[in-house]
């Protein structure tokens, strides 16, 4: 009964979404305030019904209702309750329901938080979001309903959740990633609403900015969590594989980063308006493309659990409609947009433009490398894959250019800066970065290679340019020290995010060059010295978990002859699916990780063991975390609320 209620709630929310897509839009076009005012209650109602439906599915999981096909395929009575709950989004159908729930959440958040928006704009924004939710509700209901029943032969036991997904990382990674993906729908809806109304001005950029920042922050966190999960759960210590599915999430992130910066220019200076709109359209389109790539099964990867041509076709149609429609609208409307000011070559606008161009180019190369195999396959020219060297060869130099222009961009002024003034600002941070970079390189055990060295230099460059900027801001204040703590939240957000970039650069440079790894054949008593630590293999213990049997290796780690720690890498056999899983043992640290994973038994008591030493690997995710916090700080700047109040007041007057 309860699953049917869930399905019914989805059908109701589809009807309401259609209404939301049509009624407020007609109201805004004809100037009918009553019709516009339907937008907000409709938004709340959609959220309530989708939430109800989601709770129904969760209930089915918690009560092991294996008559529901999706539950039977993804759960098991032996599964602990928290994994049963996270299994709700462990498969195709449920993860789409989560997608919908988050979309509905964003819709209701916009409805609640935007009381100060002009009514016709809010009506248009919510109508566009209603169109998106209509499309996805149809997708869920027609091709992938999670509530379908296995009747009349109800299985006694479920097939269990894929053991790879029985993990804390999976509980949090998809929701965060989806928050980001779907969050760009808000920026998209604002852009489309602005195009429809023909009012592309600074106010539009200001409304759209906090939403975009939040979505971007969630996407950053989602990607970082995904990388962290792959690092410890896929078992082999890699943190980025240039897997098509990772690329699918990286592309909207790159364009989203460009959008965050371009919105800043549009708000402050009234230029780049049509470009910003285009970026908003692309950021959301790439999120949709990502969903298509992952869900249609055209890609081979850990994420592609469902390959069903009908679903792929449906998403492709959705993709074509939304991208085609929005670009058509853009083509018709954007030519009327006029810039409100101009800028010279040496100005912050120029450097943010460089940032945008570089990010777009990086995204284009990633897109090319991701879609090329699909294209070749579709043309029947053979099967191929594009290797990581391609991505590295393009990504690394382009990101280096990006970091270089980041430093200059923080110091150059809006509108116009004279070359001499700029040089007087730049020489000190440049010198400091060279010195600090030189010292860092001298402290390293050996020369890390040219790109890693450049990465380290640029990390210092970003930090010192930021310090110089802070110095400029406070030096004319009466109390410079106190002024350091009185900057706006948006400013601290920017600084944190840029420091995050520097931390990330350090992490990438060092973990790529100084990681050590070796695959060993070890029998009990064997030992091997590695990265200054001695690893002693003490054999295997049998351990039973709730739904698996485990061979747990015992490895003593000695440092200078004394016991440093013990590590317990596992090889698990999950009963329900008969699947073997590697659980790596990690000794984490800010400056290095020790990573041990068990391979296969080699006969007798011997086991294959992989030992790794990963310097600075935590910095990758620390960088991501800093960017996330920065994005959220910037989005919660009180300025947006004050401005909104002022606008309402002036509208009322």
């Amino acid at each position: 009964m309860i699953p049917e209620l869930g399905e019914y709630a989805l059908i109701l929310s589809l009807c309401l979404s259609v209404l939301l897509a049509i009624v407020p839009l007609v109201g805004a076009t004809t100037g009918n305030a009553l019709w516009c005012s339907y937008a907000r209650p409709l938004a709340s109602a959609i959220f309530a019904f989708v939430l109800f439906s989601f709770l129904c599915l969760s209930w089915a999981f918690l009560h092991n209702d294996f008559s529901v096909a999706y539950v039977a395929n993804n759960s098991n009575t032996a599964l602990p309750w928290y994994y049963r709950l996270s299994a709700v989004w462990g498969g195709h159908e449920g993860s789409l329901l989560l997608w919908l729930l988050i979309l509905a959440g964003w819709i209701v958040a916009v409805a609640v938080k935007s009381r100060n928006l002009p009514q016709d704009i809010l009506a248009r924004v919510l109508a566009v979001m209603g169109m998106i939710s209509t499309g996805f509700l149809m997708f869920v209901l027609f091709t992938s309903s999670p509530f379908e029943r296995y009747l009349p032969q109800v299985p006694q036991e479920g097939a269990d959740l894929n053991p790879l997904l029985q993990d804390f990382g999976l509980i949090v990674h998809p929701p965060m990633l989806y928050m980001g993906y779907v969050g760009f729908s808000v920026a998209f809806a604002f852009a489309i609403a602005a195009l429809l109304s023909g009012r592309l001005d600074a106010a539009w950029a200001r409304w759209s900015r906090p939403w975009t920042n939040i979505a971007w922050a969630f996407l950053t966190l989602g990607i970082a969590l995904g990388s962290w999960w792959a690092y410890y759960e896929l078992g082999w210590g890699g943190w980025w594989f240039w897997d098509p599915v990772e690329n699918a999430s990286l592309m909207p992130w790159l364009i989203g980063t460009a959008l965050v910066h371009s919105l800043a220019v549009t708000e402050k200076r009234g230029v780049f308006k049509s470009w910003t709109v285009l970026l908003a359209i692309f950021a959301f389109s790439l999120s949709l493309l990502g969903t298509f790539l992952v869900r249609s099964g055209v890609l081979t990867s850990v994420h592609a659990f469902a390959s069903d041509p009908e679903r792929g076709f449906f998403i492709l149609v959705l993709l074509a409609l939304s991208i085609g429609g929005s670009l058509l609208l853009y083509a018709i409307k954007a030519s009327h947009v006029k810039s409100e000011s101009s800028f010279s070559l040496l100005s912050r606008e120029s450097f943010l433009l460089i940032n945008n161009v570089l990010l777009t180019v990086i995204c284009a190369t990633v897109l090319l490398g991701t879609l090329y195999p699909l294209l070749i396959d579709a043309l029947n020219l053979g099967k191929l894959s594009v290797g990581p060297p391609y991505f590295n060869a393009l990504f690394v130099p382009l990101s280096a250019l990006l970091a270089l222009s980041l430093g200059v961009g923080t110091l150059v002024r809006w509108k116009q800066t004279s070359a001499t003034l700029l040089l007087s600002q730049l020489w000190l941070p440049a010198l400091a970065a060279l010195l600090a970079g030189g010292v860092t390189l001298a402290l390293l055990p050996q020369w890390p290679g040219i790109w890693a060295a450049i990465g380290l230099l640029l990390a210092w460059w970003v930090v010192f340019a930021g310090l110089r900027d802070l110095f400029n801001r406070v030096r004319h204040k009466r109390q410079p020290l106190a002024a350091m703590f009185q900057q706006s939240r948006a400013y601290y957000g920017m600084v944190l995010a840029h420091v995050g970039v520097a931390v990330l650069a350090v992490g990438i440079a060092l973990v790529s060059t100084f990681s050590e790894q070796s695959d060993l054949r070890m029998e009990p008593g064997d030992s091997r010295t590695f990265g200054g630590y001695e690893f002693v293999f003490d054999g295997i213990r049998k351990v039973d978990g709730p739904n698996f049997h485990s061979d747990t290796g015992v490895i003593r780690v000695l440092r200078d002859g004394e016991l440093y720690t013990e590590m317990y890498p596992e090889k698990r056999l999950y009963n329900a699916r008969g699947m073997v899983m590697t659980e790596a043992a990690i000794d984490p640290g800010l400056f290095r990780d020790l990573y041990v994973a068990l391979g296969e038994p080699l006969g007798g008591d011997a086991w294959a063991v992989r030992v790794q030493y990963k310097p600075f690997v935590r910095w990758l995710w620390l960088g991501g975390l800093l960017m996330t916090v920065g994005g959220i700080l910037a989005a919660t700047d009180p300025r947006y609320r004050r401005q909104a109040k002022r606008e309402t007041a002036s509208a009322a007057a």
């Binding site: 090329y372 391979g599 296969e600």
Partner: protein, 153 residues
């Protein structure tokens, strides 16, 4: 041509040349780094190049896995039920590597026609068959039935 137009022409030419170079370099990098997929039959017929990174996939032949007693070197055969290719690999095999399982190996062919693999991939699903392998088997008319219907559903 007035100076303003000439300036515009230069800018346009500059952009076109710049984009051309960028696209050329990108395509060059792409071409250097694509790994073509070959089935065991294609390899047996000599279609696959020697000494270039390729991908090969098939089902691991029952009883073909030979492990070294001293090191992590392992050798096995993959088949599309038409031809077989021997693969040599040193390192840890993926969790789901076992006889009868579909795998994809990346590496180079040596002069003996043996694939020296640097990476062996097996998917985390017991019934999974890499699409390339499934297609190769389909082509050779060797898709295992009825078990084949269980694959990739």
């Amino acid at each position: 041509m007035n100076p303003k137009r000439r300036q515009r022409l230069f800018i346009v030419l500059f952009i076109v040349v710049g984009v051309g170079i960028a696209v050329g370099l990108t395509l060059f990098a792409l071409n250097q780094n694509i790994n073509l997929f070959y089935s065991p039959t294609q390899i047996a017929q000599g279609e696959a190049p020697e000494g270039r990174r390729i991908r090969a996939g098939g089902m691991v032949v029952d009883g073909s896995v030979i492990r070294s007693q001293e090191s992590l070197e392992v050798s096995f055969e993959i088949t599309d039920y038409e031809n077989t290719v021997r693969v040599e690999y040193a390192g840890i095999l993926p969790d789901l590597f076992r006889e009868g399982q579909g795998i994809v190996a990346q590496g180079e062919l040596d002069s003996r026609g043996v694939l020296k693999a640097v990476e062996v991939l097996a998917k985390h699903d017991e019934n999974y068959m890499p699409p390339e392998v499934a297609e190769a088997l389909e082509k050779a008319g060797k898709m295992p039935r009825p078990a084949g219907q269980e694959f990739n559903k």
